[in-house]
């Protein structure tokens, strides 16, 4: 068993039109920018993107939007320092938006990975974001029912990855990566370094390989935040 893939292009080759794609990261931290750009090169249309945000500047998810590849975004916070790509598409009616409270978004993703089709949360009770959702009372308090959130693919960014798909993350770049890796049919990880099984201590594995399908090495990944500050655009 060897889950490594030689190229970014090969890693994303299975993602076709209409796919639902989770993209991990929080802002630029933990964003698998090289995988996103490989996806732009491939060019599938009609994607649903699940991310905490909705792109920034003219790289990564913002560039996916600019290339007309995205039909819908599910996120908690579609604002950014340079939100022009999202704003233009959204205000022109070309992009559907589902705004989900950040904790509910994380929990819905985790629920998908854990086989929980629905759960109750106090979050959003009594607000516009709970409209149309079932409400139930437990121990005298009201809660909103939320559904799991699954995807066809997850793009994640690890620090180390072994050939079995075990992953570690770098500092706060962990964020949505481990839970998105659990929630997609196919999880594709870019890592700064591919190592052999056993090189990551069993205690230090954050995402066990069972959740990962493909591992591709990007030895010196770009940091999205730096690209945006440089005014970069892709391609």
């Amino acid at each position: 068993m060897d889950k490594t893939t030689a190229s970014l292009a090969e890693a994303v080759s299975g993602i076709g039109d209409g796919a639902t794609v989770m993209i991990a990261g929080f802002g630029g931290s933990g964003a698998p920018i090289e995988l996103i750009h490989a996806l732009i090169d491939k060019g599938p249309k009609g994607l649903t993107i699940i991310n905490n945000n909705a792109g920034n500047g003219h790289v990564g998810i913002a560039s996916l939007i600019e290339h007309g590849m995205v039909d819908k975004i599910i996120c908690s916070f579609p604002r950014s320092s340079d939100p022009v790509a999202f704003n233009e598409a959204y205000l022109a009616g070309k992009l559907q938006l589902e705004v989900v409270p950040q904790g509910t978004l994380a929990e819905r993703i985790r629920a998908a990975g854990a086989g929980i089709p629905a759960f109750y949360t106090a979050t959003s009770y009594g607000t516009d974001l709970a409209k149309g959702k079932p409400v139930a009372e437990f121990d005298g308090k009201s809660y909103v029912q939320e559904r799991w959130l699954k995807a066809d693919f997850a793009l994640v960014k690890g620090e180390l990855g072994d050939t079995y798909g075990n992953l570690t993350y770098r500092m706060a770049a962990r964020n949505f990566n481990p839970i998105m890796a659990m929630a997609a049919d196919v999880t594709i990880a870019q890592v700064s370094r591919i190592v052999q099984p056993g090189d990551i201590e069993p205690e230090n594995v954050i995402t066990p390989g069972i959740f990962v399908d493909h591992v591709v090495e990007v030895a010196e990944p770009k940091q999205e935040e730096v690209l945006i500050r440089e005014g970069a655009s892709y391609p």
Binding site: F26, G27, G28, S29, G30, N52, S76, F77, P78, R79, S81, P83, F86, N87, Y90, L91, L97, V99, V100, P101, Q102, G103, T104, A106, E107, I109, R110, T121, A122, T123, S124, Y125, G126, T127, D128, L129, Y169, R170, M171, A172, A173, R174, N175, F176, N177, P178, I179, I206, Q223, E224, E225, V226
Partner: protein
């Protein structure tokens, strides 16, 4: 009211200072993006609070010097941070388990409107062209043990932000426990604004006139005295 509120009201730094005085040693605290983040600067000496950020860090410290940023180490406002000893990293679902499981002692947020029943509106103006963006606010307000707001007492147009009933889209229902405003400290309990402290320079009646719900008094009202910041 003959008084100019602008001439007496606290600065944001002073409001943040006042809020910081109520954070006990060992408290786990989440500060909202922007103005609430200032609260971290004013921790009283001898007390250690541990700061949580939604994107998966507990125990972060000050911003790094310019040029020393590591963009994998940021807070919920996407600003670069540093770590204090004893910090930890965790994923987003675990991070919100801390929030939603009621493990945070205090969440401090900004507000558009706070109603006397504790309802909070701080995420959307409800305007037709506004793009909705909620982040973690709805999670924080429903679950932290104490939910405090730091805010100007009135809007830029002079309208009350402490209101009888929120007219803007809600962030949470019955969630706010205390308001630190530019004029007063107000608790919310049993559907009432309970005035705890007010600036000495403003009378109760003048304060009431810029407050959209009835201010009640339970015991004494202390002077809100804050050092220059």
């Amino acid at each position: 009211m003959t008084l100019s509120l602008d001439s007496i009201k606290l600065t944001n730094a002073q409001i943040a200072w006042r809020a910081a005085q109520d954070i006990e040693d060992g408290a786990y605290v989440n500060l909202g993006i922007g103005f609430p983040e200032m609260v971290a600067k004013y921790q009283p000496a001898g007390r250690e609070a541990i700061f949580h950020t939604e994107n998966g860090v507990l125990g972060f410290g000050k911003a790094p010097a310019e040029g020393d940023e590591d963009w994998d180490l940021i807070n919920a406002g996407k600003k670069a941070i540093t770590l204090n000893p004893g910090a930890s990293f965790f994923h987003h679902a675990d991070s919100f388990a801390m929030v939603r499981g009621g493990h945070l002692d205090v969440a401090i947020l900004g507000a558009f409107q706070i109603a006397q029943n504790g309802d909070l509106a701080n995420w959307s103006t409800g305007g037709a062209n506004s793009i909705p963006a909620v982040g973690g606010a709805m999670d924080l307000v429903q679950s932290a043990k104490r939910v405090a707001v730091v805010t100007d007492h009135v809007t830029k147009k002079g309208e009350p932000k402490l209101v009888d009933r929120c007219t803007m889209p809600l962030t949470g229902v019955g969630c706010v426990t205390r308001v630190y405003s530019s004029l007063a400290v107000v608790d919310i309990a049993d559907g009432h604004f309970i005035l705890r402290e007010k600036l000495p320079a403003i009378s109760f009646d003048d304060l009431q006139s810029v407050t959209g719900g009835e201010l009640t008094v339970d015991g004494s009202v202390a002077d809100l005295i804050v050092p220059e910041q």
